[in-house]
């Protein structure tokens, strides 16, 4: 197909598909009229059952926790895939001498950027950890916390502290940490199986006050593992994308 033909064939098909899709959507109860029952029931019982005040986290880490196990491994396998694809690429490049000049003309990071980035690192770490540890109370959780935590590492890079970055996140350790984060979550579930309970049963004491930091049993634990996994996966992906540039910058110093 030529691009022109393709465009018109697509538009014809898409018009049909869109009409079909809208015909189906018109059968919904209408915006603003969620019919229930699933969400309404959970809104009613979740706080009492899990002592978590954030129902979304209770669902992600407890009622539908098994979805989250799968989701963590999606991230795990994607990060592993990125690493294999790009590391292989790098292996090939090491022999190619002509490519070496590529990174030399990268502009050096300005002092101001370094300063701001360094100043932001601390808050980013604190906030990432806070978000991961407060899944049960507020709209947060391991996922968002993990991403914020990962940005802390990226900020270190922005600050030009490449050597620190290497020390903070050697790729090998990140690999292992990522695996531990994903595996740790699955293992928390297995612990319940070892006790003869169904997988992912919340076997830790729930505490008495809804919304307290130590409440909600395994929810916090799982959220922290998710945070670790997500942070490590993101750092891994970014490091793999950056690594070539970083190596070259180091050489040119």
């Amino acid at each position: 197909m030529t691009p022109g033909q393709r465009r018109w064939i697509f538009l014809a098909g898409m018009a049909g598909l869109a009409a079909f899709y809208l015909w189906g959507l018109a059968g919904l109860p209408g915006f603003g009229n969620y019919p229930g029952p699933y969400g309404d029931i959970l809104n009613r019982i979740a706080v009492g059952q899990t002592r978590a005040t954030g129902v979304v986290s209770a669902i992600n880490f407890e009622y539908r926790g098994f979805d989250t196990v799968g989701e963590e491994f999606i991230l795990f396998v994607a990060a592993t895939g990125v690493a294999t694809v790009l590391r292989h690429l790098r292996g090939e490049r090491e022999g190619a001498a002509s490519d070496e000049a590529v990174g030399r003309d990268l502009p050096p990071t300005s002092e101001a950027v370094k300063m701001v980035a360094l100043l932001l690192t601390g808050p980013a770490v604190v906030m990432g950890w806070y978000l991961a540890a407060h899944a049960q109370t507020s709209p947060s959780g391991g996922f968002q916390g993990g991403v914020v935590l990962a940005t802390a590492f990226i900020l270190v890079y922005l600050a030009g502290q490449y050597l620190t970055f290497r020390r903070v996140s050697p790729v090998d350790v990140t690999d292992a940490v990522e695996a531990l984060g994903a595996g740790g979550f699955a293992a928390v579930g297995i612990a319940a199986v070892a006790m003869g309970l169904p997988y992912l049963t919340n076997f830790l004491p729930l505490g008495t006050t809804p919304g307290a930091v130590t409440s909600s049993g395994t929810i916090v634990l799982i959220s922290l593992f998710v945070g670790v996994e997500v942070a490590a996966a993101f750092v891994l992906i970014v490091v793999e994308l950056l690594d070539q540039t970083l190596l070259l910058r180091e050489e040119s110093r």
Partner: protein, 615 residues
């Protein structure tokens, strides 16, 4: 409490994480981790087989974190392991084990990542088979998909095209998002994610037929599954992905991943939409049409192909069409036939791919023309390949002939016997002709090298060995799995009480009321009700005749293809199948934009057909 269903998914996940975490620590002892991965996958096979033996009396239902449904409303996620779903998961685990044993000597410098990703892939497939929750199904579907994309691009010494992996990932991701849209639509209507609960909700009798919303949700959800199962016109990615993926991975793509997509269609239909859509004749006619079209297109492309991996990939497309036809008959015997056919096909197709892997390992090529007569040294491989090729052309007593025979027998219930028999035999003759031509030409040097299609030659010669060059002997870890799988494909037919057991599983799979009761109320239904009268699962003369006839036709066709130029009185310039070159280039363009356009067109047509005939 039966913990087996969850172990089948969590054990490979934990093993993958552990292997990945330990890989740097045990850098020097790679074999330890390889062995651990193979052991894990073998253990999962055993777990699933034990679970399979427990499903005869009804689905084994498992509620995560113990959140059982109350008053028919599920608040947690469940696994509902039935005979067919567990059997398919066990088949996946078996093939993963075989592929990993094969790759023991196959990759020279394989990192442990390969095994970690394979184990995650296995977990995704097992979770997809066992789950009873529609969103959970999507999660495992995506996990399976992402692992498959990563495996496709995994190729240490690859120099060939990479866009096969990109086309695969892009088309399948679009499919997954369409499925998710469908899930959101049906959730917005029912407020439920458990498949049994949704089925019960939308299945309540409505005098004026199903709502439009139900039809739309059904089509959107199966869109992703149809793309995964490579049904025409959503099939383009498959051959591209097979051409790039490492051979052990192709075993899984062709052997189970495509079939899992079809299993998903059947699962979604029989546990959610069956009652609501009322098993209308239009469902049968629409999906039988798609299935037969796919069978014909796949077989024609297969016969034309010279690139061995793509050739086998097109045969998979053709078979996927036949499996879809079996499901679309909406009879117990049709589904049972499709299930047995899937099992038999997976075993012989896996064996064929492993043999192609050996050829690539020893001879460094997958181009049929270049390989002509080169395989004579590979005597054992030649025998295994020929046996598997005969199995693929449905020779009795390979399990394939019986599975196909059941589907054909069952077609009488819908008055489609002739159409289906003709197309099935035709497709099998073409596929058998193609693989037997390869067997005769490559391994025994019969006839002349097939005519060269220049563009294919270029492509196939780019395919370099995934392993070191110039191997002098075939490692036992490569040929033994291939031989075992082929023997298993014969042995399957002789399993005692196989027919009644598979049909009972199919009856149970198709009894939506019993499924609902088992999942939502924990009731074990001893005697599920068959949707259509049960038919005999015995081996009839007709089954044997069509099976043997297909093989005979395939042999004749292979002979013609090999000796075409030596036959007197024929037009010299004419090559069989040459007329297909242009349509292949036109449609199988390798341009992902085209593929997505076809997806949209296909969905619009299918949607229009369903909308106008159901409402």
């Amino acid at each position: 409490m039966d913990q087996l269903p969850v172990l089948a998914v969590v054990v490979p996940l934990l093993a993958a994480a552990a292997i990945s975490a330990l890989s740097k620590l045990l850098r020097g002892r790679r074999r330890l981790l390889d062995g651990a991965a193979i052991a894990t996958s073998a253990a999962v096979t055993v777990i699933l087989l034990v679970l399979l033996s427990r499903t005869a009396q009804g689905d084994v239902v498992y509620w995560f974190a113990g959140f059982r449904p109350s008053h028919g409303i599920a608040i947690g996620i469940d696994f509902a392991a039935g005979s067919l779903s567990t059997g398919l998961a066990a088949l996946a685990a078996l093939l993963v084990t075989a592929a990993m044993i094969f790759s023991w000597r196959y990759f020279e410098q394989v990192a442990t990542y390969f095994h970690a990703i394979m184990l995650v892939f296995l977990a995704g497939m097992a979770g997809f088979c066992l789950t009873g929750d529609i969103f959970d199904l999507f999660v495992w579907f995506e996990l399976m998909g992402v692992a498959a994309y990563a495996l496709t691009a995994y190729r240490p010494e690859e120099r060939g095209p990479l866009q096969g992996a990109l086309n695969f990932a892009i088309t399948n991701s679009i499919g997954a998002y369409l499925s998710l849209s469908g899930i959101a639509v049906i959730y917005g209507r029912t407020g439920a994610l458990n498949m049994a609960q949704i089925g019960q909700d939308i299945g309540r009798h409505r005098p004026d037929g199903p709502e439009g919303l139900v039809v739309v949700a059904f089509l959107l959800i199966i869109a992703g599954l149809l793309i995964k199962s490579a049904i025409v016109p959503f099939h383009f990615w498959l051959a591209d992905a097979h051409a790039v993926a490492p051979t052990p991975v192709c075993v899984l793509f062709s052997g189970v991943m495509v079939e899992l997509g079809l299993y998903g269609v059947a699962r979604v239909y029989w546990s959610m939409f069956g009652q609501a859509l009322g098993h209308r004749p239009v469902i049968t006619s629409a999906f039988v049409t798609l299935g037969l079209l796919t069978a014909v297109v796949g077989a024609l492309f297969c016969f034309r192909e010279r690139h061995l991996k793509r050739l086998l990939a097109f045969s998979t497309i053709s078979h996927a069409g036949m499996f879809l036809t079996g499901f679309a008959l909406l009879t117990p015997l049709g589904l049972a036939g499709a299930a047995l056919y899937v099992a038999g096909h997976a075993l012989v197709k896996a064996s064929l791919f492993l043999c192609v892997g050996i050829v690539l390992h020893r001879l460094g090529s997958v181009n049929e023309t270049a390989l002509h007569g080169q395989g004579r040294r590979l005597r054992v491989t030649g025998v295994v390949f020929t046996l598997a090729a005969l199995g693929l052309s449905d020779l009795p007593p390979f399990a394939t002939f019986l599975g196909k025979g059941w589907i054909e027998d069952s077609a009488s219930a819908r008055g489609l016997t002739w159409v289906i028999v003709v197309v099935f035999v035709g497709a099998s003759v073409l596929i058998g002709g193609a693989v037997l031509r390869v067997a005769g030409g490559v391994f025994y040097g019969l006839g002349d090298p097939p005519g060269e299609a220049p563009e294919m030659a270029r492509e196939a010669s780019e395919e370099t060995s995934e392993t070191g060059q110039g191997r002098n002997r075939t490692p036992r870890s490569m040929i033994v799995p291939a031989a075992v799988l082929v023997v298993a494909a014969i042995g399957l037919v002789f399993v005692p009480h196989l027919g009644p057991a598979v049909e009972a599983g199919a009856v149970r799979f198709e009894d939506q009321a019993a499924y609902n009761a088992t999942v939502l109320s924990g009731v074990r239904v001893a005697h599920p009700v068959a949707i259509a009268p049960a038919q005999s699962t015995g081996i009839t003369v007709a089954d044997v005749a069509t099976g043997a006839g297909s093989t005979l036709g395939g042999l004749v066709l292979a002979f013609l293809a090999l000796y075409w130029r030596r036959l007197p009185g024929l037009r010299r310039g004419f090559e069989p199948g040459r007329g297909l070159a242009r349509p292949i280039d036109r449609f199988q363009s390798g341009v992902v934009n085209d593929y997505v356009t076809w997806i949209v067109i296909g969905l619009a047509c299918l949607g229009g057909a369903l909308a106008f005939s159901i409402r």
